[in-house]
Chain length 348, copies 4
Amino acid sequence: MMEALVLEKAGLLRIRDIDIVEKMGPQDVRIAIHTVGICGSDVHYYERGAIGPYVVREPMVLGHEASGTVIEVGREVATLKPGDRVCMEPGVPDPNSRASRLGIYNLDPAVRFWATPPIHGCLRPTVAHPAAFTFKLPDNVSYAEGAMVEPLAVGMHAVNKAHIRPGDTAVVLGLGAIGMLACAAAIAGGCGKVVVVDMVQPKLDLAARLGPVVPVNLKERAPAEVVMEETDGWGADIIFEASGNAESAETVFDLLCPAGRVVFIGCPARPIAFDVIKAQAKEARIETIFRYAHVYPRALSLMSAGKIDVKPFITDRYEFKDGIEAFDYACNMKPTSVKVQIVMPEAG
Amino acid sequence: MMEALVLEKAGLLRIRDIDIVEKMGPQDVRIAIHTVGICGSDVHYYERGAIGPYVVREPMVLGHEASGTVIEVGREVATLKPGDRVCMEPGVPDPNSRASRLGIYNLDPAVRFWATPPIHGCLRPTVAHPAAFTFKLPDNVSYAEGAMVEPLAVGMHAVNKAHIRPGDTAVVLGLGAIGMLACAAAIAGGCGKVVVVDMVQPKLDLAARLGPVVPVNLKERAPAEVVMEETDGWGADIIFEASGNAESAETVFDLLCPAGRVVFIGCPARPIAFDVIKAQAKEARIETIFRYAHVYPRALSLMSAGKIDVKPFITDRYEFKDGIEAFDYACNMKPTSVKVQIVMPEAG
Amino acid sequence: MMEALVLEKAGLLRIRDIDIVEKMGPQDVRIAIHTVGICGSDVHYYERGAIGPYVVREPMVLGHEASGTVIEVGREVATLKPGDRVCMEPGVPDPNSRASRLGIYNLDPAVRFWATPPIHGCLRPTVAHPAAFTFKLPDNVSYAEGAMVEPLAVGMHAVNKAHIRPGDTAVVLGLGAIGMLACAAAIAGGCGKVVVVDMVQPKLDLAARLGPVVPVNLKERAPAEVVMEETDGWGADIIFEASGNAESAETVFDLLCPAGRVVFIGCPARPIAFDVIKAQAKEARIETIFRYAHVYPRALSLMSAGKIDVKPFITDRYEFKDGIEAFDYACNMKPTSVKVQIVMPEAG
Amino acid sequence: MMEALVLEKAGLLRIRDIDIVEKMGPQDVRIAIHTVGICGSDVHYYERGAIGPYVVREPMVLGHEASGTVIEVGREVATLKPGDRVCMEPGVPDPNSRASRLGIYNLDPAVRFWATPPIHGCLRPTVAHPAAFTFKLPDNVSYAEGAMVEPLAVGMHAVNKAHIRPGDTAVVLGLGAIGMLACAAAIAGGCGKVVVVDMVQPKLDLAARLGPVVPVNLKERAPAEVVMEETDGWGADIIFEASGNAESAETVFDLLCPAGRVVFIGCPARPIAFDVIKAQAKEARIETIFRYAHVYPRALSLMSAGKIDVKPFITDRYEFKDGIEAFDYACNMKPTSVKVQIVMPEAG
């Protein structure tokens, strides 16, 4: 029995004891959870009880953006030891699946992902987890930052798919947490300029402090106009669609340069209208991403190097006992908020 | 003055004298045209007088799929000589444009492309053309085959974008001339199996003779069902959308494997509904193409090697004097016809 | 206890009973071996007792190029059943290693590879093997051909690394079994022309029958001269170095085109002299390969499709009881021999 | 007649009038030279009169790393106007060559490159140059920095070939000007850590200030030991060989991770010993570079963005009248010097 933040059903959260059996295998570690960020998907399950085909049918612990401390290691684990400060990939694939063998383990249909029904999340005192998906935090990366690696990994995976050439100009549509982190990752990953587009001025102001960023408030200017100005009429090399807004996603080819690349990060609620002929005129390449793979050590390297600073995005922190309040705030954040985190009781 | 097949306006073709000045530069060659294939775009201009923004406002010579014989060479031309049998890329870019410098000359907005208004096509006795875009036919490639290189180049460009790994399984949706040639190019380019989908049985029968091809008649079976059967439920590595049909184009992700690639060759008349989330679940990569670049010598190499045989697709040949009849047939071909060609009067 | 072909020590082979314990895991299958090809490495262990750091210190069963029949399946195996005709990847990695997770399982230092000391090979009646590394033979692929997939996989892996663009011209230096199979794979993989170089005329004659192949007998002509002739002075797009001969490997840049690719398949006994400046003048890319990964299903697809025919390379077959004779012949083959295989006693 | 810094023959420089005819074409601009950096190749011509096959047979103006001001534009030039501050690519290809058409114009054998015999360099008051190879300096990039774009372009081209994935760990062997700039480019291009290796402590100290850099003094530690420590025994993702020292170049595979990439930037005076088997064990990919292509605008973008700061490398500046003194210093620099520049007399 352990005390966890449990989604009983849509709209009903409780902090209560729950019975979770955690079998430790020889290649697993046990981790005392320290910090857990609240993701849009957590909020979505809380509000609606489902995301597409994933429906919460039994009470489920929420949370998948976590850092913590190793407290026990399986007998075959050589890379970690008790006391190590770590963060964890929340999705664990079958290592023998076809997708895993190919190196695309994020696409393994057998992945067990925290807080995706029926798998419990990590808003609880401890988890058992494979050492292979548990990553040591560098000394200069805090637990709070460690819990940001998960959403950052999405942005970095998008950047990997974009195959940035140093000096590229990118556009980020939508400055939610993921768009913000994709912007930071794009700069760290070699972009010489990033045009960011949103309607919320405080988010644009925050992004503008990340580096060579050109903010565009949709209410004031047409993104295509700014992008063409900034690129001498050539268009941007890369468009990251991170708004998840269908109307926004339908504009990407207007912003793009010949032979440019588009990465769809956001998940529009309806199919978007795709003008194939417009894309063909530029020989656009479109990449789509599903979570991430092989990104955690790279994210930690860039954070430790000071090339990606996630601290400005950690805007709100709550103690575990106030976790339901944290969720209620996350459902209806102020425009200056980016990421809400929950700190576990035993955390130092 | 030369006698040419002229589109006077939508619906009206004439074979008549027209005044075309052809300046020969030092790096140009003059070619006596031998064979010209009729492309869907020629038919479209004939029937409608326009394709999207390209409107026929003045009488225009049609035709851009051509082979011929060099009859004169500019003083700086070292690679060709009179008497050489050749085929020609119909689009000539500005070599100093940004796109050309990058090697993506097909995307140069300054391209002058035969039979795209206001540029005259090549259904006329001679053309002057840059030697750099004129390619010698191997001895075992006929003029008729040489005039097939242009549509084959579209299929090969699609294959290049697909980055086939030898042994890939591909799907070709739509067996018009381009789909048929894309299928042949996919096989020559390394695919171990190609599932082809159409509703016209004779086209499926023809494709089935190209190699390791699995024909699917849309009226009889669901393509996704066949593709999953043929790939043990994994999906095809590559989908070539060559039907240009929006409904067909909307099915591509149902056929695809995780981390697979889709190439949009066809040009659907309306924006298609693009289910981003479905694409993301497979991390699909989507490529779009605009004509081709750097493909002609490669196409000729594969034809000369016997790896691509275009002869079965050359189903109908007309003399130039019957050119209007050829066009009328091309507007309404029998299902067994794939490509209609016109042979010039002086052709040997 | 099972009867196997055992290398007792350098120079001494015996067919005798040996005690091998084969634990079947839930994801393993047991296979009755049908055919085993003799590889250059088997011969090398026989003659020298070692390859580099790999030293035969205990009696070891030889053989790793195998096909057979499934006779038992673990309880979690869904893809295979008793009676299935199969071939096997001889190297089994740790699925949880860093290299495996990245999809480059062939580079996992923990790989256990048949007939690489101290791991026993498969010249014995049965083996237990992971289902994930066991591949069903298509109906039109024989056991003899199935045992050719292993060396073909090396050639195909080289072809994968070369990133052939359809219509490329390649050169294969050295026509041992691997060079021969790399040539076949290069043709199947999209090359429009392959120049093959060797000093043994029967091997050149055999290669010349594989497709668009230009044979060059080193004793008669300089390869660079032929390559430049065949490519209008531009050079070949890809060089496959398969001779393992240092002198040969030192010539690769003379054959290459600007921005061309070299793949080192062969293993020269001494470091080769690498003229960096010569490579730089062409911006050569050099790839090196270690065995293969993810290739077996692709090889079988191309064999089943009739795009790669390995039958001409299976030149010599022996019964298991004559296995030592087979090895002695393999040590000193006639120039017309390519691959020697051994057929197990129970094989149908 | 214009006053230039002329290499009369090996060892003899003069500042004197020379007769250079500069024809302006319609797509050319005329530039008043402001700053010219001295490259190792300039020094090499001064000291030896030749680099490999390039022999100075007639007096030749030196210098190819230049910035300046546009003073005249051809009638077809739309992108530049008099008064624009610019830097120039010193190599001008034939736009109609096969290499240029492919986008690899740096490999065009017809390239005319400043200060490569018999082409005059730019240590003179004015040059006529194609607008397409002339790039406007952003407002926050000085002339001195503009003259650094040329050597930076070499480093960036190396980084492009390395295909950095964000968070990669790289090694730079050799901290001459190019190695230093490659290090800066690698950090800007996404590396999370760069291990730099040299024997000159002040150069290591300078590099250590560029970002997440681990300096290794060859006299004190074995690079392989440090690299393995910094990468948990996995090896570095990328090795940039920038020392041009053959012994150094022979160590690259000891530093590399499985499936890693090596880029040879330096030009070792002798062929290096290449242990193919050692490279194969890691499936190393080796890239070689020749100058650069398509890099100038990207370099300027990163400089303007503050992601690459070249000012610390501009250690010594001379007036044109002291140009010979500048060259003599460049032949024998203090270890704290990186780049020597010459400022033209009319420069503001």
